[in-house]
């Protein structure tokens, strides 16, 4: 089963440490820009980084793993400690942005702001599900994919989308950039992720509860939580619709930029 342990280790490191750190890095880059002042605390940022790379990289092995129990125990400890890293990130960013209203109005800022509670929820959920008492309820249920979606859609995608919406208009130098579709995308993304991860998490808890009752037949216990799938599918669809608005918006931006570019070069030729 070493294969399985390595697979858990790799997946967690890719999702939480690698993608998570990219997003945290992006937040630390954009927050001071929006706020127009320096990052609140450099030490706190370094602390968060160290926690994530030293302890975050230990999480991932579920308590039910058929391996010597020190492996999931160490993993659960890593997951618990990484909550403190996440708290440090959030405290740091909140202090940096405190009293700054410009970010609330900026569309990109919206993505950044709402990504933070998602990260916190992920870290707490991950820690709870790692410990034996939580795992006995939540392992092998829909809670696991719920956590994954919370991290990927709720945090990583939100931050990267915010970054795209912030950079794209500056990059193309185009003034044509509708904020309306961005707002629509933001709401689709937020509602979609909450619906998707929230309903899956609820289904997971329900599934865990039902499976804990041995008098209930396995089929009945496994069937019932599937009803909640209607909501998670809605969430998935909302995320998809949101992504389509991004595609349309960026396509429009690109077209406008090209037009601009062509006109300029034509204008230059005429002058010659």
């Amino acid at each position: 089963v070493t294969q399985a342990v390595i697979a858990w280790w790799f997946t967690n490191n890719f999702l939480f440490v690698w993608l998570g750190l990219i997003s945290i890095g992006a937040l630390f880059y954009f927050a001071p820009k929006f706020a127009g002042r320096e990052l609140h605390s450099r030490q706190l940022a370094i602390f968060a980084l160290l926690i994530v790379i030293f302890f975050g990289s230990w999480a991932g092995v579920p308590a039910s793993a058929p391996v010597p129990s020190w492996i999931p125990a160490l993993s659960a400890f890593g997951a618990l400690v990484s909550v403190s890293g996440v708290l440090a990130v959030i405290a740091n960013l909140k202090s940096t942005m405190s009293g700054c209203t410009a970010t609330q109005c900026s569309v990109a800022g919206k993505f950044f702001c709402k990504s933070l509670p998602m990260l916190l929820l992920f870290a707490i959920g991950n820690a709870v599900a790692s410990f034996a008492c939580g795992a006995s309820l939540l392992d092998f249920t829909w809670f696991t994919p719920a956590l994954k979606y919370l991290l990927l859609y709720g945090f990583v995608a939100m931050v990267l989308l915010g970054a795209i919406y912030h950079i794209a208009p500056q990059l193309t130098g185009s003034e044509y950039f509708c904020t309306r579709p961005v707002k629509i995308h933001f709401w689709f993304m937020l509602l979609g992720t909450v619906l998707l991860a929230g309903s899956l998490a609820l289904a997971g808890v329900r599934q865990g509860e039902l499976l804990k009752d041995p008098s209930l037949s396995a089929m009945d216990a496994l069937r019932e939580p599937l009803k909640i799938f209607r909501f998670s599918t809605m969430g998935d669809l909302l995320v998809l619709l949101g992504s389509l608005t991004l595609l349309v918006n960026l396509g429009g931006l690109l077209r406008a930029a090209c037009k601009n570019c062509c006109c300029k070069s034509q204008g230059a030729e005429v002058k010659k």
Binding site: I6, F54, I71, F140, T141, D220
Partner: protein, 279 residues
């Protein structure tokens, strides 16, 4: 100040720690596991899968069975029981000793041994001490370790899964989701290969409220030429092939069933002690 070396070093140390703890150490501890003996027996465990079952593992993997079925039995704890196997001749003292351990011990049941003396002892040592006491009295008592937990009560296994159970699996298909029942021990509770084939062809033909998809593509429906072949599925009327046709499993279906019939983790091991079920 050029901080690049410091950053590189920190990242390297963090990676080395994580790699050492979650790749290297498990590899050293369980990566070199070999075949062991079953507790209290001379049988080897685990046994390598026979050819068809080994092929079935590939079919299991290819069809994504592990996406909905886990192969891990969880155990809540262990219950230590003391059983009286032989009362010997000194019955009065044996009964007194048994009553000391369990006030409700029924003296009249000595004629019907083995009999449970006490269940739920906290530590193995207490059970061993009591066992020795009965030994001195000329009686024979057995200590049983009974795994407990929901998965076990549900009948999904007799004990928790341990690393040794997967020695011959590559890749290990543990699964992380239970959309369907756990399969770590399916062979021990399966009603047989014929049932498995029917279940794969159409799960609803044997389990009315199943949510499993049909795996009809693992079967061929063909015209009966002279008489139905012996390995044609005996489907219930509702699911049967049209008249004059029969449903025959392909090699893949047979291999998959052979694999499912090989999933059995019922051997007591050092790391997973387990009593034989009380007679």
């Amino acid at each position: 100040v050029n901080r690049a070396p410091l950053i590189f070093l920190t990242a390297l140390v963090a990676f080395a720690l994580s790699f050492g703890a979650f790749v290297l150490a498990p590899q050293i501890q369980i990566g070199r596991q070999t075949i062991t003996k079953v507790t209290g027996g001379s049988e080897d465990y685990p046994k390598a899968r026979a050819g068809q079952a080994a092929q079935g593992a590939i079919v299991y993997r290819a069809n994504g069975c592990a996406a909905c079925h886990s192969q891990t039995v969880r155990q809540g704890g262990i219950r230590i029981e003391l059983w009286l196997k032989e009362a010997g001749t000194n019955t009065a003292q044996v009964i007194a000793a048994a009553k000391k351990l369990n006030e409700k011990f029924d003296a009249t049941c000595l004629g019907n041994l083995p009999q449970l003396i006490v269940s739920g002892l906290e530590i193995p040592r207490k059970a061993e001490e009591a066992q020795m006491l009965f030994d001195k009295l000329g009686a024979v008592a057995d200590v049983h370790f009974v795994p407990t937990g929901v998965d076990i009560e549900r009948g999904w296994g007799l004990r928790h899964s341990v690393a040794a159970d997967y020695l011959f699996d590559s890749p290990v298909l543990l699964g992380s989701q239970r959309t369907g029942p756990d399969l770590a021990n399916i062979a021990a509770r399966s009603p047989g290969a014929d049932w498995q084939l029917l279940h794969l062809y159409n799960p609803r033909s044997v389990v009315t409220n199943s949510v499993m998809p049909q795996y009809k593509f693992l079967f061929t429906t063909r015209k009966i030429v002279f008489a139905p072949t012996s390995d044609a599925l005996k489907l219930p009327e509702k699911f049967a092939a049209p008249a004059g046709y029969e449903v025959v499993p392909t090699d893949d279906a047979r291999a998959l069933v052979a694999y499912l019939q090989s999933l059995r983790a019922t051997a007591p091991l050092f790391e997973a002690p387990m009593a034989a079920a009380a007679k």
